[in-house]
């Protein structure tokens, strides 16, 4: 049973069975493979969005700083902070401190729920404005007359899929945290991997969807508000 492990082995020895060539458990390897395939799903969605955007004559860029960019930046900060708390949870679990791990996972779930709340609020705002998967609000059409109506489709599909991933991640974390005493360290690590992946995807969705659709010329009332602030500040 106790076989000696050589440090200077060749590839053939390592891959001929009986060893762990990646030195990770099969569950963790499975999660990594899922992450790679899911990354390709998101890449395909972002590619479809880029294709639609590049091939159309004009694309609506409606995200002014005041609600949209501010909201999405706050959401990014939420996700990044929750990623940090997740890594702290994994660290606590590695040190066999399950109670601390549960608390850190709770903080991570809080970050995820905050993200979800802000995101749903923002969706509601856009839907109220009149954005639909295959039609733009009247105001937008006036401002960008040639704009492709696919804006809504790409926006709702990509952020919706991501939101679904965040929701699943919160549920998954909750399931791990609820019975953390029966979970091994590897289980905590795997749910951490999934959570970091959700964060990683947002790092591409945020610049491509939000910042690339930044509104350089804010609407009149925002301009007026800015003018008001400036004149009263430097009077």
């Amino acid at each position: 049973m106790a076989t000696e492990v050589h440090t200077d082995h060749l590839i053939a020895d390592e891959w001929s069975g009986g060893a762990l060539p990646y030195r990770v458990g099969h569950k963790k390897l499975g999660m990594w493979l899922f992450i790679v395939s899911d990354a390709l799903t998101f890449t395909a969605m972002l590619m479809a969005y880029s294709y639609a955007r590049y091939t159309s004559d004009e694309w609506a860029t409606p995200f002014a700083f005041s609600p949209s960019i501010l909201f999405s930046t706050t959401m990014t900060l939420c996700l990044l902070a929750s990623s940090f708390t997740m890594v702290m949870a994994v660290r606590a679990s590695a040190h066999r401190n399950k109670r601390a791990a549960r608390r850190w996972i709770g903080a991570t779930m809080l970050g995820g729920l905050l993200f979800l709340g802000l995101h749903i609020y923002e969706w509601g705002h856009l839907i109220e404005e009149g954005l639909r998967p295959f039609s733009l609000p009247g105001e937008w059409v006036e401002r960008w007359p040639q704009a492709s109506p696919l804006f809504g489709a790409s926006f709702f599909a990509i952020t919706g899929l991501h939101m679904f991933h965040v929701f699943t991640g919160v549920a998954y974390l909750g399931m791990v945290a609820a019975r953390i005493r029966r979970r091994t360290h590897e289980d905590v690590e795997i749910c951490g991997l999934y959570w970091h992946f959700v964060d990683l995807v947002w790092m591409f969705v945020f610049p491509l969807i939000y910042i690339m659709s930044f509104d350089p010329a804010p609407p009149q009332h925002a301009k007026a508000a800015a003018g008001f602030v400036i004149t009263h500040l430097f009077r």
Partner: protein, 201 residues
């Protein structure tokens, strides 16, 4: 150094060297093709040219993997990815590198890059430069998350080699859609396009 290359004497060692030399030759050939495209293609910043270049670089990378792996096995650039040997990490023991300070530093770096991205939106640069900068910053952020948060920096090199090149390759293959989107755009009758032909979106 000489003790590490005793494998040369037997047939298996020779076989490995010949195969790796062929792989290296192919890699160099593809690099030369990419560079010659850069030198003689004229306008490089077209989608076709960039696509061909990325294909050449990818093929060069694919052919380089085996020789680099072999070189790593034979002690060249030892521990380039911070991967320990068996003796460092016994399989039974849970190991976890990184301190709170390190993770906080990574978090602050990610936040700083996010703020830079938001500020970048205010600069009136052309769409291409903007997109390149945003994607570049996002790739840096993704690499930071994968390396430290997802712990990939401390995993074995074999895991990294299994996951990352395949992913990058598949993503690059999807770029084949862009010449088509360009063509699709130019196919449209000009009366529909009106004045918006060269408009920045």
């Amino acid at each position: 150094m000489s003790t590490k290359f005793e494998g040369f004497k037997n047939l298996k060692g020779k076989q490995e060297i010949v195969l790796n030399a062929i792989c290296l030759l192919f890699a160099v050939a593809f690099l030369v093709l990419a560079l010659s495209n850069l030198r003689w293609a004229g306008d490089v910043m077209t989608i076709d040219s960039l696509f061909v270049m990325s294909v050449f670089f990818l093929l060069a990378l694919v052919f380089l993997i085996n020789p680099l792996w072999w070189a790593h096995q034979h002690g060249l650039f030892e521990n380039a990815f911070g991967v320990g040997t068996e003796a460092d990490y016994p399989a039974e023991e849970v190991h976890f590198e990184g301190s709170t300070k390190l993770f906080l530093a990574v978090l602050l770096g990610l936040l700083a890059l996010t703020i830079v991205e938001v500020i970048l939106a205010y600069f009136k640069v052309s769409l291409h430069i903007m997109l390149t900068l945003l994607i570049g910053l996002s790739l840096i952020k993704a690499a930071m998350i994968m390396a430290w948060f997802m712990h990939l920096k401390y995993e074995r090199l074999s895991l990294v080699f299994t996951l990352i090149p395949a992913l990058v390759m598949c993503i690059c293959l999807m770029f084949i859609l862009f010449p088509d989107s360009n063509r699709n755009r130019n196919l449209r009758p000009s009366e529909i396009k009106q004045t918006q032909v060269g408009a920045e979106k």
